[in-house]
């Protein structure tokens, strides 16, 4: 059974149709890149999979491990193993990062019927992961993402990914706003989480990110559907020729 199956998905925001019958199959262990110009519907796809309110699915389905994902609340999707790394992680003043991480992790474990993490185990794990991502301890004491740089916010997303151990990670424009050094640190963090049990969907506008996170499959989106799929070489092809050739194909 595929980990994620998106079948002929049609989605509206207010009166406008953004996705016009998108299909995508992701198996565990695979890394898929979704590329496409601005406005092609890449972020909409990530939001619909994560359960963000405001999107109306008019047709099609999304199955996760064979279950109908669209019927689940966002928190249920998270506890079942769906993780969205946000393009713009929000700042939450007054909620310490550590408190947030523990609350979220324990909420997911509770929903799965697992015991809550003990404090020492939790702290040990967070410190380990934080160290590997170059996240200083004082950042964990601050409010979630409050005063974090663009790179720090993205690393905080990857920290959560490492802690929650999701089976499906969707990385929405992870490279936006990052300089080359910050990008490398973030990409190393993501690569460390690649595993035969986990799939990743990397959404990006630029080929650059895919030099660091090398995908197994590349899909080109245009005007709300996948117009071409191929191996990692497709990304290089796009880098050379641009998206214009696909505008007509859509």
């Amino acid at each position: 059974m595929a980990l994620l199956e998106v079948k002929n998905l049609q989605v509206r925001v207010e009166e406008r149709e953004i996705l016009h019958g998108l299909s995508l199959t992701v198996n565990k262990g695979e890394v898929h890149a979704i590329m496409g110009p601005n406005g092609s519907g890449k972020s909409t796809l990530s939001h619909v999979i994560a359960g963000k309110p405001g999107y109306e699915v008019t047709s099609g389905e999304v199955l996760f491990k064979g279950e109908n994902l669209l019927e689940m609340a966002p928190d249920e999707r998270a506890s079942k193993g769906v993780f969205l790394a946000f393009q713009y992680p929000v700042e939450i003043p007054g909620v310490a990062t550590m408190t947030f991480l523990r609350t979220a992790l324990n909420a997911q474990r509770k929903a799965r019927g697992e015991s809550e993490f003990s404090t020492p185990d939790f702290l040990k794990k967070v410190r380990e992961v934080a160290k590997s991502l170059n996240i200083p301890q004082d950042m964990l004491r601050r409010g979630v993402n409050v005063g974090f740089s663009g790179g720090e916010k993205k690393r905080n997303e990857i920290l959560q990914m490492a802690l929650f151990e999701p089976s499906l990670c969707i990385l929405d424009e992870m490279d936006s706003g990052l300089d080359i050094d910050a990008l490398r640190v973030a990409a190393d963090g993501v690569n460390a989480l690649r595993s035969p049990e986990r799939a990743m969907v990397v959404i990006t506008h630029y080929q650059r990110l895919l030099n660091y996170i090398v995908p197994d499959f590349v899909h080109v989106m245009s005007k709300g559907r996948v117009v071409k799929s191929g191996g990692k070489e497709l990304a290089l092809e796009l880098e050379a020729s641009g998206y214009a050739q696909f505008e007509d194909a859509a």
């Binding site: 994560a50 007054g94 947030f100 929650f164």
Partner: protein, 441 residues
Amino acid sequence: MNVVLAKTETGRALSDIFTVARNRLPGAGKVADHRQQAFETYERLGLPHRRIEDWKYTDLRVLMREVLPLAAAPDAAALKRAGTALKLHAIPGIRRVVLVDGVFAPKLSETSDLGKDISIRSLRDVLQTGDAALQAQMFAPENSDAMVALNSAMMTDGLVIDVADGAVIPLPLHIVHIASGAAPAAMFTRSLIRVGKHASATLVESYIGAEGAQAYQVHDSLIVSIGDGARLDHVRLIEDSREAFNISSAVVTLGAHAHFNTFGMNTGSLVSRYQAVIAVAGEGSRVETNGVNLLNGRQHADTTLLLDHAVPNCSSREIFRAVVDDRAHSVFQGRIIVRPKAQKTDAKMMTRALLLSDEAEADNKPELEIFADDVTCGHGATTGALDDSLLFYLRARGLSEKEAQALLIQAFVGEAIEQIASDALRELAISAAQRWLAARG
């Protein structure tokens, strides 16, 4: 404002209560005269209503539909119920002084080993046998407010606390007001705390109902005097029954280089009003007055503060947060007066309300009256809902809708709670907030 209104049924019933109860009220001679005068003032003013500016948002003629008779002194059964309630609200590391149905309950209180730095007497004793000056001080709050006048006329008991000059009282003092639930009743209490020069003390007041206590009325007042160089930390927690009324007033006076840190949290009662007048009368003094309302159902809670800066070189900070759900109504009125002599005053006030439902209401009324020209004063007020993008982020990380709201609500009220100086008291406020959040489901 002189608005003459026909006395309502409620107003009349309260007057009858005084007539019936007067022989049971402690104190004769001058004390009885003070009561009579206060009662006459109350009779003239009647219950406060919306056409009195200070009571604009809390019209007692509408909200206080029935007046309950003066509570009987607690019997053995009442004290037993109170004792059970106390166990549920036990706080470690604190000295408890208990008022049951408005009457001092020595057996439930921890007043045997006070030492020489602190003295605690009951108001009843003071009014019956105390010296005239102290008795007069108990009647010091101005009766121009009808509910203060009513409280002056009817006060039955309370605590008179003296902290000696230079004393540092390590254990916080905790006045617990308990309604025993014997029968629906009204209690009228007044307490006084005098913190001597260069002394420091901590006072916690909480208001609770024993099991079965429903529609009772608390009428309380507090007189605070903080000496030169002294410090008082003060926390009020209203966790009364959800059908109770709590009408409380405070009059606070600070000497020079004194420090008053006060925090109020209101999660209980159906209708509550806390009106405090804080007079900064000595130079170089500091006031922090902060509060949180957590309201739902049809609760109505009104905090009305007057900060009076009369002398130079003082500072005050007010941070107030209201979280209002369902059809509840939160009121914050904060007035700061800076008198002509009070140069170099640094006074700031910020009030924010979070509305969790379309029918919730929050009224914020900040007022500055500044008569000095070299001051730093400011105020701000905001009202809004929880941010959807923050809620989605938290839900995408596995928190249910209620859990996500709870985390954001705690962060919102946290800014006010953080101002509590002592870790233990901060924990008290946090756990009161958590109880409210847990009760939401």
